[in-house]
Symmetry: D2
Subunit: 338 residues, 4 copies
């Protein structure tokens, strides 16, 4: 951390800063420039509240040098993290495909969805049993009954199951049925939920919050990892900007940034990221070209009957074209695709 | 709702739209223009998923006409909502002042804070016992012990207590000690929490999410009200934008927008809204001039020793000046200030 | 400036950095921490391109310490700048009111507008003769004829004239008629235009760009001041965010930030800032309470016949109420109002 | 356009709306719902100011149905636009590569850059002779001398030249030397400049403004096309968001949106879009996979000596790897690459 001293600060005021550093066992390196004094702070800053420094009269601003996350940092595992869920490797050479409807709506809808995405080559079945919805009057999900349909679809097709958990209370029941626990964008900073899934012993798919910086996102991953669970997958799904032509702005540069600063597998959800089915295929291809380890795609047997997100769901036919297109890009990227 | 039909849609495709409306008991008014056909939809749309319409081949786009919230809507109570908490009226003629430290750090710090803000004229003591923090390594709050200190400070000063609840599990314990349950910005769309506080029988202070539209915010209020609890206070606390000179961008126009579209009391938190104590007084004045019913201000006996948010906390002296300034503005606004 | 060295950088790579600093006559202060080496750079950095440092293999990042603007900086004139235009002082004790229609539409419309705003107490008449419009098919302004009407209105009422100039070529003709040259939001970084008005010898009203940081805005002011013209007025008029309930998000905290970092007069335009006439009065009051030195308000004799921005224009009656309200706030703020 | 009538509007007030429509020769279709009256407006709306409607007491809101641009609309040329500049086709089967330094710094630097990018397979040489810079103290470009070096580099290598024009006055001189006139992001709504280049008879590369919606961008293209110049290339170069890990947020979904709504060629600039050379290669690949017709890449013989944007410039070696990677993706996308 660097402390920039205000022009005109008195020696006494500067001493106050140095005293506070010393009282926390930190060392100070002072550089006196023509226009500013700068103090480099050295030592373990974790016990120091930076806020208590910022209010000192001598302090103009603090400049953090190190990230606040450690376990999620690239430096922690420079070689990258990969792990297997049943026979599929996340963060490895394959492009991992997760697909299925936005919400589990009925047994028939889900089983048909599962057969469709399995046939096209997906590895995971997605589908929400618990649905966080902006309005209390929108469809809220089938809850445990939905989880049972997901498990049945797994039995029938061999697909693994990824599904969202929305509060600490239902983590146990979701764990009974799911292979991956998904944390949705709205819950990225629901810290109690992050800690609970961190202790649940299941891989976690952590979606980026709609207005979360990459730094905050990695700190959220740190909450999970700090509980001892290192099987975390990051999922870019679009951020909120001024542009209204798309539902969100899919930030594919985040994939490349994460590959530099973090060791965890990264996947992309172009369905929520764009909000329009016509944009899903181009952005799925782009995500793979940017280096994503997998994709999460909304597919519905009949998008025009979907209870949510029909607008951004692919038909079976379009999903099959998408699989073909992304496999071609993945091969160019050196991945082992069929 | 209005449905805009694509140029070139066939009669058959348009019929598909009309059939879907009819099957949900809705009536259609068709306008054929020179360039577009437009369908006005009439009836109770709550059972219809708009997504299922948007994917029909004839549909170019849907345009919603009505808000999705009802209980929070101005039309529900055009005269406005006001309610008493002990002897203080929210949403009435007085400007309601809530003040105190960001976090409850110790018995002494809290009692001293309470005495300071009471003396300057505050009505409510704020202070977090459960602290949602970006990093798992930051101070997370004193939890129930903190709540006990808050209750003790209430006894000692007569201030009412507003404090944050961060997950459904701890709602009960917070209810034992608090006069108002605060929902923080990160939890504005934690729907399970909203429903739980909706059933808890205590007034709720609902902060705006960092990237929430006013419409989403009012839908979050609707979650609370839909459980039968109409004592909801909305708190503007800044939104996330590209500007980095301030921690957030305090959106004071939201106060005026809410006064037009909603009947609930509105307060403003310029401490989080700006992130710098030097900006708190001007923005507190501006908030009152914009029509806010109250303010929430961070005050710390010694900001340079605060464990969080010291940078945006006022000293006792500055808070006292702020009280004087906002009271003057409040009187000009026709409020009953001392 | 501070240079943070990458972990693992070799001594040779660090030397490369030091050599580059030395070759530009700069001194380096090195702090070796447990996790990072940090170099403080001292001397006149103006001849050094920071980009050329950032690409050196040893460099993790550069942290600027000083602002890039000098003439606009508070340090340049800590006492603040005020100047007179005819008999009105900008940046002084009075609240300066600029009002009038969005565009000059006709002689009658302008003269009537001028009489209305004069009668209500305005100091300046605003009105666009050159209109930058999003679509080429929208009304583009009356150009020089519009300027003549403005001059005639000045004759008739004694109001001063502020009007927009949109390109370097028309600066001369606008100077013939205007008392203040307005630079619109879209042109805040039209550097050729900034230089041209900087040399024109007239006061300049510089609107903030829709996505400009305060820092970029002050650098734009620096372009004008660097030509020798220090009579610059800054005008906050809303920034672009994700919120769609308002046309822009009026950033009133910018007023307080500018008062800290800059010495120039600051005014606020709540008409463009909100885009809805119902929000103009509350935000005008809030702007004055936040410390603004003046306001710019759109007023139209018949908003329902306006050729642009009717939606955000006040009727004569509403403008008269606004004047009354803001004068009350201004007096509380210690200003000399009638 | 659709007009939504306020609940409680009187018949007389509604009549006022109908009268205004009629007086502009427009027809109204009225739909009376249970909660709202809706009016569909039919006819040529171009002479009607929507603002004048919005202020009528009966009007709740207006909903535009059609885009305001016509020549840029997909409907104008559903088959897409392609055109040749010397022997290179924009908007055709090839991926068009533009590369070179941010700024023309010297004869040697430019000629060396040209040789490097030519050898790697580029079609166009980029390089700024006029540089719009945030601070007046930054390097502002070599102006006409820079243009001469560009022309010399074209002679020497056969590359075509694309270079920025920053104000109407210098359009003529830039036309003497350039094959494509580039309009930078800051000037996307410099309407006088757009009209001037529209009349200049040279192809125009129009960069997206940092906070421009796609709709505003297409309206800017409309300004150029409305002067009779249909040879416009759109260049996505990142938008401003809250994320600070990248210089801008490259919005690749804009490529797919443009391909749906517009017929013009689309290219992507991942150098400005990300601001970090390490992110340029992944985002260049992603842009091609998303469907871009070309790329603009900053390359510098010695990025560590660049006078601007060195941080985002590729070394010759990295550019050569990039060419290889994007060619592979382009072939998968069905383009004719070497």
């Amino acid at each position: 951390m660097i402390i920039v001293i205000k022009p005109g600060a008195t020696q006494e005021q500067v001493k106050e800063v140095l005293d506070q550093l010393e009282s926390h066992g930190l060392k100070a390196h002072i550089s006196e420039g023509s226009e500013r004094i700068i103090i480099g702070v050295i030592g373990d800053k974790s016990r120091l509240s930076t806020d208590s420094l910022e209010v000192l009269p001598a302090v103009e601003k603090l400049v953090p040098i190190m990230e606040s996350y450690k376990l999620a940092s690239k430096a922690f595992r420079p070689e990258g993290t990969s792990f297997e869920i049943k026979n599929v490797t996340l963060g490895g050479k394959e492009l991992v495909m997760m697909a299925g409807p936005c919400a589990v709506e009925s047994r028939e809808q889900l089983l048909e969805s599962a057969r469709i995405v399995k046939k096209a080559g997906a590895d995971f079945l997605r589908g929400g049993a618990y649905k966080p919805r902006t309005s209390p009057y929108s469809f809220q999900g089938l809850e445990e009954q939905g989880l049972k349909f997901l498990a049945e679809a797994r039995e029938a097709t061999g697909l693994k199951v990824v599904t969202e958990v929305v509060d600490p209370i239902s983590v146990d029941v979701v764990c009974e049925y799911a292979d991956i626990l998904q944390i949705g964008a709205r819950n990225m900073q629901n810290f109690q939920l992050l800690k609970t899934v961190g202790r649940a012993g299941k891989p976690v798919l952590l979606k980026r919050g709609i207005a979360a910086t990459i730094d905050e996102w990695l700190n959220a991953a740190e909450y999970v990892m700090n509980e001892g669970n290192y099987q975390v997958i990051l999922c870019e799904r679009g951020i909120r900007t001024f542009e209204t032509a798309t539902r969100n702005t899919l930030d594919l540069s985040a994939v490349a940034v994460l590959k530099q600063h973090c060791h965890l597998p990264v996947i992309v959800d172009p369905s929520h990221g764009t909000g329009h089915w016509r944009l899903v295929r181009p952005m799925a291809r782009a995500a793979v070209a940017a280096g994503a380890d997998g994709l999460m795609i909304e597919v519905h047997p009949k998008p025009d009957e979907a209870m949510s997100d029909g607008m951004q769901s692919l038909t079976p036919e379009n999903f099959s074209i998408l699989m073909d297109e992304v496999n071609k890009i993945a091969r160019v990227m050196g991945r082992n695709q069929p």
